[in-house]
Symmetry: C2
Subunit: 364 residues, 2 copies
């Protein structure tokens, strides 16, 4: 009874086998479909739990479980250790995911989930933007040009006729390297990337994505100021109590939709809003998209904290493609003993070991 | 940056390399040491969480996280699917564990945890019994003779001069096969195994271990009745709301110690007790064992629901031995990209893929 291992290298081979654009399209469509199907009787997605610590370094290690009843469960583990690049030449975020067959509890797959996390975060913004942003949006503001910006741009360019990107980052190199880092996406030849301040990006964009590493308590990352009436913001960076990116005044006059309310109220932009000021969640948006289409001409915010259901969708999709393509390594990890009542089958005691009773006797 | 895979087969090779008795002794001693060190500033062990479902089959999939600050974290996944043997020829319990370096969030190991779970459950009973049971206990009652009985007998025989086992099970074959299934333990040549009723086991034993699969609401598994004044019971089977093994009247006149109070009050024998009637937990017992030695002449119960800290100890021990013995398979599972801001490095778009915008445009 094997479990499928999909390493980081396997995941890249799977994605190249499917096609990067094709995969993003399938992921966006798959997430939309799951949100259409969403019901408490169909899924169980508890609020994520985690360990937080400050010694020997500041870190966070979280588990994000999601279950589709009668089908499968995914538990994603994600570590956030901001000193990794400096101390260990490692990424800040390391993530793996584990999938289980709920008919048996069998571990079906172990999957590197770092790229998958970035992909599903992009797809979630695309899904929310298709409901809330103006359909002819062609200027995309990008505030924070790190790894997450790449999948935001990719996912949104697959769903909107984006022709101009206003790119803002406190690190000019992140802006300068952005064109190279998004070259793998099948973007239009006439797409312009323009360096801009955060305020300029806010002012002149149809859609803005924020994905910064703003420190806890240091927000907002852009002052409130002029913007288009139909501006839609995907607020991606806020994912921790006290960490927010947007001005409270801007949120206060916007239609704000969280991915997962219980989590967004604790660690998203919704921290800054009274409960009554928060709009429908992503599943409610997708289920009733026609009812919200008038919001496309209003100022709207998608508060994306990262939802375990999104992880479930992307990991299932990658595992399905890997299986179809014959990629990854099957490993017989779990015990399937001939007699489950005989755990010591095939084991032997070391003949010369002293009894612990006698050893313990001496020390008592 | 590799993660070590330890399959079920690897775990058996590790244990044979160490010696089964030696491993049990190290585990018991290691657990005792960690309990001595136990402090909220040293460890974080939240109550386990899980998914419960009844379609398509009754099942439970739980995560059990434990952290030693500044060192490492273990997350054990455990599935409980009672129809596995009948429907799929699989064990009821399937379990895997994942260990993480808390300096970086790196996944250090993926470990089959089914045998490890049985081993640590045995060791926990040994640790509790060394504080609460009469040191010269020589008659061990075993109620429920399945897989868990094997490690209970093993662990207790390593710490007490057991010469007689009173074995009770609703299935006579489980009693008949017990001698064969514990043969791998280095047990005394003159150890007698005697078939007994549950009442006889309760009446004539110094220590009793209960590890049945009693159905929810169907307990107790033995009527209250005569027993030795110094009887110590390790109650192992109760691990679910409504599932209990012991008569409330027996618990009521006993000194009852849970492994982990928050969990035992919800799913252990402590469900049957008012909070004020519950004694100290396992860590408090071990830290102050001298203060509790008078209980060795009284009736006592260890309410063992299975604690994530125990999993942390056994998994760390097995990984350490595997590393020392050069066993297991290192796998480069996690992404360590040359530029963490470049998630699409090495990926290419399929040139012929249609834009999702155009595809979406048709359907809107």
């Amino acid at each position: 009874m094997d479990s499928l291992l999909l390493t980081s290298t396997d995941i890249r081979t799977v994605i190249n086998g499917v096609g990067l654009d094709q995969l993003m399209d399938e992921l966006t469509a798959g997430l939309e479909q799951v949100l259409q199907d969403w019901a408490p009787t169909q899924f169980d997605v508890p609020v994520r739990g985690g360990f937080e610590y400050s010694t020997p370094v500041t870190g966070l290690l979280e588990w994000m479980p999601a279950l589709r009843y009668g089908d499968s469960a995914t538990v994603k583990m994600v570590g956030y250790h901001p000193l990794n690049p400096h101390n260990h030449h490692l990424p800040t975020i390391l993530s793996t995911a584990y999938t289980f067959d709920v008919r048996t509890g069998h571990l079906t797959a172990v999957v590197d989930a770092t790229l998958a996390t970035a992909l599903r975060t992009g797809a979630a913004s695309a899904v929310a933007s298709r409901v809330l942003a103006a359909p002819e949006s062609c200027v995309l503001g990008v505030i924070g040009c790190g790894a997450q910006a790449v999948t935001q741009i990719h996912a949104l360019c697959r769903c909107f006729p984006i022709r101009r990107i206003l790119a803002s980052d406190t690190n000019p190199q992140a802006v300068a390297s952005l064109a190279r880092r998004i070259a793998a996406c099948g973007l239009p030849a006439d797409l312009e990337i323009v360096s801009a301040s955060a305020a300029e990006a806010l002012e002149a964009s149809d859609i803005v994505c924020t994905q910064t590493s703003v420190a806890i308590g240091a927000g907002p990352i852009v002052a409130d100021g002029p913007h288009r009436d139909h501006l839609h913001i995907n607020a991606v960076g806020s994912d921790f109590p006290g960490k927010t990116e947007l001005p409270a005044s801007l949120l206060g006059r916007s239609f704000v939709c969280p991915d997962f309310l219980a989590q967004a109220a604790r660690e998203g932009e919704c921290q800054q809003l009274a409960p009554a000021a928060v709009g429908p969640d992503l599943a409610a948006l997708v289920k009733n998209s026609a009812a919200f289409s008038h919001q496309q001409m209003q100022t709207t915010v998608f508060d994306s904290t990262g939802w375990a259901l999104e992880d479930h969708v992307v990991i299932e999709l990658l595992v399905q493609h890997a299986t179809r393509l014959g990629l990854g390594s099957p490993v017989a990890l779990e015990a399937v003993p001939p007699d489950p009542a005989d755990p010591y089958h095939g084991l032997g005691a070391a003949p010369a070991a002293a009894s612990a009773f006698r050893a313990a006797g001496r020390s008592r």
